[in-house]
């Protein structure tokens, strides 16, 4: 799994390429935490390069969303989610919990 982060004026962007399983989910969690511990809670997760997600990854997304949305201070939104990954998120009942954007520019622009 490869992970890059980018800081914009109004939000932060995380991009992951590869597979998020119980091993690599810890890295993802750390990356999200590095942002929220900086007092920044508007995050775009670019999932276009994600090939696999396990429930460990979904736990990280839910925990991060809870942190971001607390006191209405922000939100984690998901961008460019591949079909197979989207189906897993749907199976886990994620649709009401996250905003989905077709592309990253649109997601970044939503903040």
């Amino acid at each position: 799994m490869e992970l890059t982060t980018e800081r914009f004026k109004r939000c932060d962007l995380i991009e992951v390429t590869g597979r998020i399983d119980s091993l690599t989910a810890a890295q993802l969690e750390e990356a999200f935490r590095a942002i929220t511990e900086n007092g920044r809670f508007r995050i775009v997760f670019d999932m276009s390069g994600v090939q696999f997600v396990s429930s460990a990854a979904l736990r990280v997304l839910i925990d991060t969303q809870k942190t971001c949305k607390r006191w209405n201070r922000g939100e984690l939104v998901l961008a460019s989610v591949p079909q197979r990954i989207y189906e897993s998120l749907d199976l886990a009942g994620f649709m009401p919990l996250f905003k989905f954007f077709d592309d990253v520019v649109e997601a970044v622009g939503s903040f």
């Binding site: 399983d21 119980s22 696999f52 809870k66 886990a92 009942g93």
Partner: protein, 158 residues
């Protein structure tokens, strides 16, 4: 240890319809990538389509994570023995561990309609296994440990 896990790609086409392989992996999260490769070759040998292959990858990943976290109570405390078998209409995957007995009835189903605050995201692993595979069966005996048998049919169940 069977060496068939290292067959070159494509050779499975010449194998008979019924094929079986077993490999033992250390019960650690850094085994998951190798397990995924092993099980992907199995799913391809069984002739599953791409969608079914992904389902098997995910179910096996969740099963192994459960074994590491719950049966063994952490990484590096025991092995996971994985056997796969193909037949004309299905792929069967059998996972064995020697950790604590696992009782699936003790795991409450996840509440998928709970609000964000009430989501704990636990119990999703078992839920995914059951949703993604056509058969999921747990057995425990003191001699043979936890034996989890999962089946995926070639024709996806409705």
């Amino acid at each position: 240890m069977p060496s068939a896990g290292h067959l070159p790609v494509g050779l499975h086409l010449t194998l008979p319809m019924d094929t079986k392989q077993t490999l033992v992996f250390p019960g650690r999260f850094d085994s998951l990538a190798a397990i995924r490769e092993f099980i992907t070759r199995a799913a391809e040998a069984a002739g599953l389509d791409e969608r079914a292959i992904y389902a098997v990858q995910m179910a096996v990943d969740e099963a192994c994570t459960n074994i590491i976290e719950h049966a063994y109570g952490g990484e590096g405390r025991g092995d996971i023995e994985i056997t796969w078998r193909t037949s004309t209409d299905r792929l069967t995957v059998i996972l064995r561990d020697y950790g604590r007995p696992f009782d699936p009835t003790g795991v409450p189903p996840p509440d998928l309609r709970a609000s964000l605050e009430d989501r704990n995201a636990r119990g999703l692993g078992l839920y995914f296994m059951r949703r993604l595979m056509d058969e999921v069966e747990f057995e425990f005996t003191p001699d043979s440990g936890n034996v989890l048998t999962m089946v995926k049919y070639k024709e996806a169940a409705p």
